[in-house]
């Protein structure tokens, strides 16, 4: 019983149409992104369903999930904070910024806060070197930039976000900070 396929039938059709009919495997990454939107990570049964759609083995799907850093096979915090500590950011205090954040939240990089809301990850360059320190937030499959950060500013934002999650309000206006068009 392919429930993923049932729920997302039209979207799956649309994604498959981007590739030649005999190349269904090409849709594996778009389908994984689609799956991750729901729970923030990809379960084994869903990998199995995606394998069937793409006409490849479940092992091949699992290896894709394992290879790419933005696919997750384990639940993390509702909010993933991806802090860049790469070359250019490091020259602007990104490592000190990251350890200050980790101290405040009581987690090590890669860990999740005790309330299960926030996971902090140390990541490589995210193409925002001129606005270091910088992090990206990943909520479900939505990714946003947050530039020119300091621990206080980031913690304020986090408090706002986690408060709205705890009260179940859908007031997640993620677009504000990232919109610099």
């Amino acid at each position: 019983m392919n429930t993923f396929k049932k729920i997302h039938a039209s979207e799956i059709e649309r994604l498959l149409a981007n590739y030649p009919p005999d190349r269904k495997q090409a849709a594996v990454m778009p389908l994984l992104h689609l799956a991750q939107q729901e729970a923030g990570y990809i379960t084994e049964p869903v990998m199995q369903e995606i394998a069937e759609i793409c006409e490849i083995s479940a092992t091949e799907v699992a290896s894709i999930v394992g290879y790419y850093t933005m696919f997750h096979d384990q639940p993390g915090g509702k909010i993933r904070l991806m802090v860049c500590t790469d070359v250019a950011c490091r020259l602007h205090g990104a490592r000190e910024y990251l350890s200050a954040l980790c101290n405040e939240l009581g987690v090590a990089p890669g860990g999740t806060s005790s309330d299960g809301l926030v996971t902090i990850e140390e990541v490589k360059c995210i193409a925002a070197c001129d606005h270091a320190p910088v992090f990206q937030s990943q909520i479900g499959d939505e990714v946003e930039y947050h530039e020119n950060q300091n621990p206080g500013r980031t913690l304020d934002w986090l408090r706002l976000m986690t408060a709205s999650m705890k009260t179940g309000q859908a007031s997640m206006n993620l677009g504000q900070e990232a919109d610099h068009e």
């Binding site: 981007n18 590739y19 030649p20 190349r23 495997q25 090409a26 849709a27 594996v28 990454m29 778009p30 994984l32 992104h33 793409c54 490849i56 290896s63 894709i64 290879y67 790419y68 850093t69 933005m70 696919f71 991806m82 790469d86 070359v87 250019a88 490091r90 020259l91 990541v123 490589k124 360059c125 995210i126 193409a127 925002a128 070197c129 001129d130 606005h131 270091a132 990206q136 499959d141 939505e142 990714v143 946003e144 930039y145 990232a178 610099h180 068009e181």
Partner: protein, 416 residues
């Protein structure tokens, strides 16, 4: 600042909206190309312009296109929007703020090689940009600028966004193709080259975002106009990504051949706290380290002059280090990057980056001896020319030039 061709959105507000873009001549060139030019005429104009690939290699774009065999179909064009080199953030600005000029350029490239399907490979971290592109591409289709039988011709074109999920190696063009095909993003053995056996085993052109964004200007104003900027062998303007210990980091569109000094001091405002400059890294984490001598500062940034300093221009991601940066620390940061991003396919890169990272950790934690610096050098030297792709080769650039020019910084860590 010279005239802006790629960062025109800094002068024209709202250029990322279709109506503003078309009101400023947007897609006029596209119409002209499809309605009045033969594909081979488009390729010839690009060849005449001397445009070179802006993703790093600097290969002449028109020549690349002409490698596609005309007896194997279909052809594909893939835009490489996997911008991931540490210190590089130019394509992101184009994709966010001047997206239609990039799309128009991609369309022109497709017409030149008669591709009817094109893909844009966005890095996973550009998810928001990619989602916006879905809307933009639909909008263009509804306006008749994309789709079937364009402007009454026989030519049809569809563009598909494809989102990655976090892997630097997918910027390498054959790894990128593997990734689109739904496989692990690992490089392919070459030959055959993508121009002959590329995406879905068909002839494929892969061009960088900035390269493609030049095309509406070149086809609109002509090859001779393009050559009024830059040098004879490196014509046109280039976006230089300036970061590190400078007062005004950011993207600067300047003619190729502009000196490091002008970029760093005139546009970048000089070094933070007016400290002395120590090193220039012209190509991000992949760079050789250039000691910032007066002669180096006066070197023109183009595809011929930078190699004379023992480095490459690459994607022109200029990271500046001041006198307070310890090079042993810096090198551990570049090596950690490559260790993390090594795809694991070939042994020299997978093992070499691992051991370099571990030796550097030992050095920087004060637990090493002088013999470890020699060991580091040996590991790096043994990787040279043995890696499957450029990632492994680039991982040793900063290590070897760092030890060569700044040995004292490493020695200081093992003596204490």
């Amino acid at each position: 600042m010279s005239e802006l061709y790629l960062l025109r959105h800094r002068e024209i507000q709202g250029l990322n909206q279709l109506k503003t873009y078309t009101a400023n001549g947007g897609f006029d060139t596209w119409k002209k190309v499809v309605s009045t030019l033969k594909p081979e005429e488009v390729t010839q104009v690009v060849k005449d312009s001397g445009l070179r690939g802006r993703g790093g290699a600097g290969f002449p774009t028109g020549v690349k296109w002409s490698f596609l065999p005309t007896n194997i179909w279909p052809h594909y064009v893939v835009a490489n929007a996997d911008e991931s080199e540490p210190g590089t953030f130019k394509d992101r600005e184009i994709l966010e703020s001047n997206p239609y000029q990039f799309i128009e350029g991609l369309m022109i490239a497709c017409y030149a090689v008669q591709a009817k399907d094109a893909y844009i490979y966005f890095r996973g971290e550009f998810a928001q940009i990619a989602h916006k592109f879905e809307e933009r591409l639909q909008e263009l289709t509804s306006k008749g600028l994309l789709g079937d039988k364009l402007f009454g011709s026989e030519y049809s074109l569809r563009i598909h966004p494809h989102l990655g999920a976090g892997a630097y190696i997918c910027g390498e063009e054959t790894a990128l193709l593997e990734s689109i095909e739904g496989k692990l993003g690992q490089p392919r053995l070459r030959p055959p080259f993508p121009a002959v056996v590329g995406l879905f085993d068909k002839p494929t052109v892969i061009n960088n975002v900035e390269t493609l964004t030049n095309l509406p200007i070149i086809l609109g104003k002509g090859a001779a106009h393009f050559r009024t900027q830059g040098t004879e062998k490196s014509p046109g303007t280039k976006i230089f990504c300036l970061s590190g210990r400078v007062k005004n980091p950011g993207n600067y569109e300047l003619p190729l051949g502009t000196t490091f000094r002008e970029l760093i001091y005139t546009h970048g405002g000089g070094i933070l706290n007016d400290r002395a400059i120590k090193v220039i890294m012209p190509a991000g984490a992949s760079s050789s380290l250039i000691p910032a001598t007066e002669a180096a500062l006066d070197t023109p940034m183009d595809y011929e002059s930078v190699p004379a300093l023992g480095a490459q221009l690459g994607s022109a991601s200029v990271i500046v280090l001041d006198e307070t940066v310890n090079i042993s620390d810096l090198v551990s940061s570049t090596v950690n990057f490559f260790e993390h991003e090594s795809c694991g396919k070939c042994t020299p890169c997978r093992e070499g980056t691992y051991w370099m990272a571990h030796i550097l950790e030992r050095i920087n934690s004060g637990k090493a001896s002088k013999a470890d610096i020699e060991l580091l050098k040996t590991v790096a030297s043994q990787m040279q020319n043995k890696c499957f792709c450029a990632l492994g080769e680039f991982s040793i650039s900063a290590v070897l030039t760092g030890i060569q020019h700044f040995r004292a910084d490493f020695d200081a860590r093992v003596e204490n």
